[in-house]
């Protein structure tokens, strides 16, 4: 018995237990391989695309050259429409419009969703009153509501933002709600034993516990919100990336269509990776394995 204790002491106290290995080639590679492999992979992908479209018998109306797409993207992102133009061919103008709508929509969705979800998790009566509506609207394909919102609000930015809000708000509500409901009982018991009142219980335990849930709700909300952006603009609007996809395809400018699609992918991945980074930053203990 005494021996076991001694051994444990020795293992944790020995200063030579952790040794400095320094930078080896293996270590550098271990840290950079993800980035290197992805970069090489993408470069090969676009080169193959270029070769196939240059030497293969492919109509550029259906599949443009990769270089044409990048050129379209570069020009579109570096030029703006002149003052007073009726229609802008600049990707940047449409991107800014969509991005601003998305951010406004997400902000409103968070302002409604976070307190709503917290209240539903914290109060049985609020929960039983609101949950049928939340589940009904969350299970309805949001695209089905677009004609209705066009009818209510016309082809306006308000209509587009409303669709983004309605798309993004439910994952946020449901995650915040679930976070409160799943707060570990023993943490609550511990706080109570050490003297927490009801307010402190929420402020010191439930809220910090729920924070990572809220962030992953926002992450899902971004994905849904982006669908909302494109749908709203495809159906009703004269600006935004969704509209530009429609317009460029209608005018047989496939390179522009692909350029906008690429931009959407980059935008979506950047936002989602930002929230993942945020989640890992505020809740390192959760150690969630992302795909």
């Amino acid at each position: 018995m005494a021996k076991a204790t001694e051994q444990i002491q020795y293992e944790t106290d020995d200063p030579n237990r952790i040794q400095d290995v320094g930078w080896t080639f293996k270590e550098v590679w271990r840290r950079t391989r993800g980035f290197v492999v992805t970069s090489v992979n993408l470069i090969i992908f676009f080169i193959l695309w270029e070769i196939v479209t240059t030497y293969g018998n492919i109509n550029s109306l259906f599949l443009p050259k990769a270089s044409a797409m990048f050129q379209e993207l570069w020009i579109g992102m570096t030029t703006r429409a002149p003052e007073g133009a009726v229609f802008s061919g600049s990707i940047l103008d449409h991107f800014l419009h969509s991005f601003k709508n998305l951010m406004t929509g997400l902000a409103i969705a968070m302002a409604i969703g976070i307190p709503g979800g917290l209240l539903m998790g914290g109060n049985k009566y609020v929960e039983s009153i609101l949950s049928p509506y939340v589940w009904a609207l969350a299970s309805l394909p949001r695209i089905a509501l677009v004609p209705l919102f066009i009818l209510f609000l016309g082809f306006t930015t308000t209509m587009q933002v409303t669709i983004i809000v309605i798309s993004a708000v439910f994952p946020i509500v449901i995650n915040a709600w679930a976070g409160v409901k799943t707060t570990e009982k023993s943490l609550l018991a511990a706080a109570k034993v050490f003297g927490a009142n009801r307010v402190q219980l929420y402020y010191k335990v439930v809220l910090p516990y729920t924070l990572p849930f809220i962030i992953s709700g926002i992450q899902q909300g971004i994905g849904r919100g982006l669908i909302g952006v494109v749908i709203a603009e495809l159906f009703g609007g004269s600006n935004g990336l969704g509209y530009l996809i429609q317009r460029s395809a209608d005018t047989f400018n496939t390179a522009m269509t692909f350029a906008v699609l690429l931009l959407l992918i980059v935008m979506s991945l950047s936002l989602i990776n930002f929230t993942r980074w945020l989640e890992a930053k505020v809740a390192p203990w959760r150690n969630v394995n992302h795909l």
Binding site: M1, A2, A4, A191, V193
Partner: protein, 270 residues
């Protein structure tokens, strides 16, 4: 550790029941418990799973209401948790977003103990030294091993300098080797602070090595079956004489015979 003659915890006909809403029935977890615990005493509760040991501790801490009888601490009826009683949890119950130091300071943030910032700092330092965790103040619980996490749990319980330490199977999730080391720590800490300790375990060895008295509780409804006095001198943990003595074997056998039938009942789900 000096055991005084002053009764610090007194349970009289204590009954605790839970509502089973689905079946519209009441489950009586503990029935007519009469137990007097003296100041400075180390009392261990053993009994099969679901016999109401945790209910007893929760009633003393003030976490759950009683259905009948009374439980008094220093002559006052328990109605809510208080800084004179602290608890150590089986799953540690550390706030994962707080550092070790911040977890130990939690009781200070939740209630006003009327002590100065200087003293709080000093106490946190003392608690960390007492559980052998000095140097880990800035670590997060997820960076620590199970044994170290429970040391934090114990340090947090000691932070308010409580009279009564309630421990609900604190070492159940810890591996066998670390567990023995932790038992030795527990014995040392409680004798150094002179606290009264109510300790739940499923391990008969742990019960005999730690307890001044072992209270055997029967299965559903939980009643006190027998109270066994343990008279080994302390410290017992690093005394190899204790474990190989004849008295130890007899005590072990006696307690096992008391819980055996009950444990069998649990496995059959009766």
């Amino acid at each position: 550790m000096q055991i005084t003659n002053e009764n610090i915890i007194v349970a009289e006909d204590l009954t605790i029941s839970y509502d089973l809403h689905r079946e519209r029935k009441k489950l009586i977890a503990l029935q007519d418990i009469n137990l007097e615990i003296k100041k400075g005493e180390f009392v261990v509760l053993v009994g099969p799973s679901g016999c109401g040991k945790t209910s007893f501790i929760n009633a003393v801490s003030g976490l759950i209401p009683k259905s009948g009888g009374s439980v008094k601490v220093r002559g006052e009826e328990v109605t809510a948790p208080g800084p004179d009683r602290a608890m150590v949890f089986q799953d540690y119950a550390l706030l994962p977003w707080r550092t070790v130091e911040s977890n130990i300071r939690l009781p200070y943030e939740l209630q006003n103990l009327g002590i100065s910032e200087e003293e709080k700092k000093q106490r946190v330092k003392n608690c960390l030294e007492l559980v052998d965790l000095a140097g880990f103040e800035k670590s997060f619980p997820y960076e620590l091993s199970g044994g170290m996490k429970q040391r934090v749990g114990i340090a947090r319980a000691l932070a308010t300098n409580p009279d009564i330490l309630l421990a609900d199977e604190p070492f159940a999730a810890i591996d066998a080797m670390t567990r023995e080391a932790m038992q030795a720590e527990m014995e040392r800490i409680v004798s150094e602070t002179g606290q009264t300790c109510v300790f739940i375990t499923h391990s008969i060895d742990e019960a005999i090595l730690l307890g001044d008295r072992v209270v055997v509780i029967s299965y559903r409804p939980g009643k006190i079956k027998e109270i066994v006095n343990i008279d080994f001198p302390r410290p017992r943990m690093n005394n190899s004489e204790v474990k190989i003595s004849k008295t130890y074997a007899e005590l072990r056998d006696h307690i096992w015979n008391l819980v055996k039938d009950e444990a069998m009942q649990t496995t059959r789900g009766e």
